[in-house]
């Protein structure tokens, strides 16, 4: 078999929690050598659940395949080690608050002098510039500023949010794409460069409809949180059938199928429901008709069957446990199992990239804190055992079996 697509690339990874780690995890899964530099106590993800004997399964999910070093980058020695590693690296990725890398002499201006061919990717909540850039950020902070949370929940009530990393995972994917593009650019004769990716901008691009709608109507059409049904289109929404919920979409050509499934061909013929605009105006009536029909069916499986017979897009709203146990996700390997020295087998989401030339996801483990300190200093930078021991005594590097 051919070598993995990114084999031979060296990535120095200063990232933590999710957005950055998702990007470098994909790089590692494609064969790049990822050296992850953590603070002496480990990064924040190591504190998040599930915990077992001090080890975090959360950390494992986002860090399989990376070689871990723990060193104090506020010391001159720590910085020297980073500079030496970066000299022969292809990529540096970091997601500190803007300014932190500079404080440690690891900003783009410094690093490009050390390695002009370098690709550096900075991921942050707000971006490297602008009035908010210096503020600390998390996914939900970005979701708030990007107008995402405002759109979740019942109209007129407090918004809700999901325990889900909408911003981090997608930002990691955008960053991965940008990094590989810059690598391709370099092999086609281009130079190294700095990439600035912000969570908030990725989250803002989720408004696949709202921004141009607001803008081109001169502010007349403003998307708002609309509870279980779509705020403008109908029928699009979450409907109840007995004690279960299902999603149904019946706009454009699917409206005919839905009318048939409900035995309401009369509605399809009704001029009030003839196009997207008029249907949106009568959405309450349409949604009520669907709820009434579901009450009469009284069984979600039967309802889904009737909808599918008429090619109406629909889905049961699954709990996470149901997703992980579903025959479809099982057949596709959507959930993958990785092995860990402390947890044993543990299930995580599979990285969504599927290549015909590389159908198997590599079997990779997540490093313990500072697991590769010695190996990397010795093999890559030629440090002697005495030098390494001194760094340990001086508290520049550390390791722990977590």
């Amino acid at each position: 078999m051919t070598q993995p697509m990114l084999e031979g690339f060296k990535v120095i990874d200063f990232t933590h929690v999710v957005a950055g780690p998702h990007a470098t995890k994909i790089l590692a899964e494609h064969g790049a050598e990822v050296i992850k530099i953590e603070p002496l106590g480990g990064e924040l993800a190591r504190l998040l659940p599930m915990q077992r004997e001090g080890r975090s399964a959360y950390f494992i999910q986002h860090n399989v395949g990376k070689k871990t070093m723990a060193l104090d980058i506020s010391t001159k020695e720590g910085q020297d080690i980073c500079h030496e590693l970066i000299k022969t690296a292809d990529v540096v990725v970091e997601n500190f608050s803007p300014g932190v890398m500079k404080q440690h002499n690891l900003d783009w201006k410094t690093l490009k002098k050390i390695n002009p061919d370098l690709i550096m990717c900075s991921i942050s909540c707000f971006g490297q510039t602008g009035p908010l850039s210096h503020l600390p950020g998390y996914d939900w902070i970005g979701q708030s500023y990007a107008g995402i949370i405002d759109l979740l929940g019942e109209p007129g009530q407090k918004p809700v949010f999901g325990d889900i990393a909408f911003g981090d995972v997608s930002t990691g994917a955008h960053a991965f794409g940008a990094i590989v593009t810059a690598l391709l650019h370099k092999t086609r004769g281009g130079k190294g460069q700095h990439i600035d990716i912000s969570l908030m901008e990725v989250l803002f691009s989720y408004h696949e409809m709202g921004v141009q709608l607001y803008d081109t109507t001169g502010g007349q059409m403003l998307v708002q949180r609309s509870g279980s049904y779509h705020g403008m289109l109908a029928p699009v929404g979450i409907y109840q059938c007995k004690d279960k919920y299902l999603f149904i979409l019946g706009v454009n050509h699917q409206w005919e199928g839905l009318s048939k499934a409900m035995g309401r061909e009369d509605m399809f013929a009704d001029p009030r429901f003839s196009d997207l605009t008029t249907m949106g105006q009568h959405k309450d009536e349409i949604n009520a008709a669907i709820e009434a029909w579901l009450d009469s069916v009284g069984d979600i499986d039967r309802a889904l069957e009737l909808l599918r017979e008429n090619r109406v897009p629909c889905a049961p709203i699954l709990t996470l446990a149901e997703v992980m146990d579903h025959p479809h996700t099982k057949e596709r390997g959507t959930v993958r199992t990785v092995s860990d020295p402390i947890f044993g087998d543990i299930r995580i989401p599979r990285t969504p990239l599927r290549f015909s030339e590389f159908p198997d996801t590599p079997n990779l483990q997540a490093g313990t804190l500072g697991q590769y300190n010695h190996e990397i200093l010795r093999d890559q930078l030629g440090y002697s055992e005495q030098q390494i021991a001194r760094l340990e005594t001086d508290g520049v590097i550390a390791s722990k079996n977590i």
Binding site: L48, A57, Y58, V160, A165, G177, M209, Y214, T216, R308
Partner: protein, 404 residues
């Protein structure tokens, strides 16, 4: 030769519609790739989505700038021949039909890889090319329902909330973009072409940055459920009300200490009931009560955010609506909203590409094409069709075009 952008010279043949595929090829066009979008004679269905002006869709504009458009009847042998000829000289083919449709048109990977073995072909679908659900039509929301995302959003005891946003499409477009460029890189290094099977389901499921391993590693003891205004497993992380507005506070890291001091609860720093984010969650009502009491004394969400973030470095943010985002000085300075020119709409504002390269700082000036706008140009310049051939294809209804 100087490149206009990072993907200058990369040729993409694009059969995608709605958002997931178009977001991917939009990112490619914005990075300088030469994208030919092939639509059905009636056009991509997203050309009917609002806002509509003189028959033209603002929605379509957002997702399709910088692509050259052809409109062909893919059921006809002639149109398939044209696509095969274009595929022969393309680096990338991308599509997001329901699985099976490309095969029906003789444009599946088995057919196209014979025509061009170096091709990178990317199929995007809601639920994948195989598996029991693959044959069903899919949309972002269908993927959200099947991935456990929709079930996680909403009030604890109420129905799930519909998001009204393309969580799956945008992320899948980005993952597909990264996969395609990786495959191009592999090809540039002599690795040959390959096929990519991207799904909304995989991408949406990977949003569970915490839930999957928590459920699994706790042996099913910790079941992620929709949690309304507070995170299920860690605290403090949630939405709070202040003076008629909402704000989000996230103090699960070292900022917890700062928050305790701000709330006048220094004693909590060493209290074992608040030792880490998970233990704190068991006692979160007490924390929330203290936060709410403090917010009541402030009475103004903006001011509270300022005190939290700027004075005490506790991550917090006001919950903004779309217009507030678009007008925020930070977003204005960053250019998060991009203004594009359109022949019918004039200026249209859309979200800008999140990818910012130091070597290519100015976004390319790109417009969205009308249906079939480049039929002639592509057939003539790429495939050497004569004017007569083109006229007869148009007459036979193989080619079509429309001014919107």
């Amino acid at each position: 030769m100087a490149r206009k952008h990072v993907l200058d010279g990369v040729k993409v043949l694009d059969f995608s519609h709605y958002v997931a595929g178009p977001h991917c090829t939009r990112l490619m066009a914005e990075a300088g790739a030469d994208v030919i979008k092939v639509e059905a004679l009636v056009g991509d269905s997203s050309r009917q989505l609002p806002v509509i002006k003189e028959g033209r869709s603002g929605y379509y504009i957002q997702h399709n700038r910088g692509k050259k458009c052809m409109a062909l009847d893919l059921r006809s042998k002639e149109a398939q021949d044209i696509c095969h000829e274009l595929a022969k000289q393309s680096d990338v083919v991308i599509e997001n039909f329901t699985p099976g449709v490309m095969k029906k048109y003789n444009m599946d990977w088995a057919s196209l890889s014979k025509i061009n073995p170096d091709l990178v072909m990317c199929s995007i679908s809601c639920l994948g090319q195989e598996g029991p659900l693959s044959k069903f039509p899919g949309f972002d929301y269908i993927g959200q329902a099947y991935s456990g995302i929709m079930g996680m959003t909403g009030q604890v005891d109420g129905p799930p909330a519909l998001s009204g946003m393309a969580f799956g499409d945008i992320s899948t477009g980005a993952h597909a973009y990264g996969a395609i460029v990786s495959a191009l890189y592999h090809k540039a290094n002599g690795g040959g072409g390959q096929y990519l099977d991207m799904t909304l389901l995989d991408c949406l499921f990977s949003y569970h940055e915490m839930n999957v391993q928590v459920y699994d590693a706790s042996g099913g003891q910790m079941v992620p459920k929709r949690s309304g205004h507070q995170h299920s497993f860690v605290a403090p992380l949630g939405l709070f009300k202040c003076g008629g507005r909402y704000l989000v506070i996230v103090a699960i890291g070292p900022q917890w200490v700062n928050l305790c001091k701000l709330l006048g609860k220094e004693e909590w720093v060493d209290d074992p009931r608040f030792a880490d984010p998970v233990i704190r969650n068991e006692n979160r009502d007490e924390i929330s009560a203290a936060i709410e009491a403090w917010l009541d004394t402030i009475g103004d969400a903006e001011k509270a955010v300022k005190i939290l973030v700027e004075d005490n470095h506790v991550p917090a943010a006001p919950v903004l609506d779309v217009p507030e985002v678009m007008e925020h000085p930070h977003m204005v300075q960053r250019g998060i909203v991009q203004t594009v020119d359109d022949p019918k709409f004039g200026k249209v504002k859309i979200p800008a590409s999140p990818m910012k390269y130091s070597q290519f700082q100015e976004p390319l000036e790109l417009q969205a094409s009308s249906l079939g706008q480049h039929n002639e140009e592509i057939l003539r310049e790429r495939l050497n069709y004569s004017a007569e051939q083109i006229a007869s294809l148009t007459e036979a209804g193989v080619l079509g075009s429309k001014d919107n």
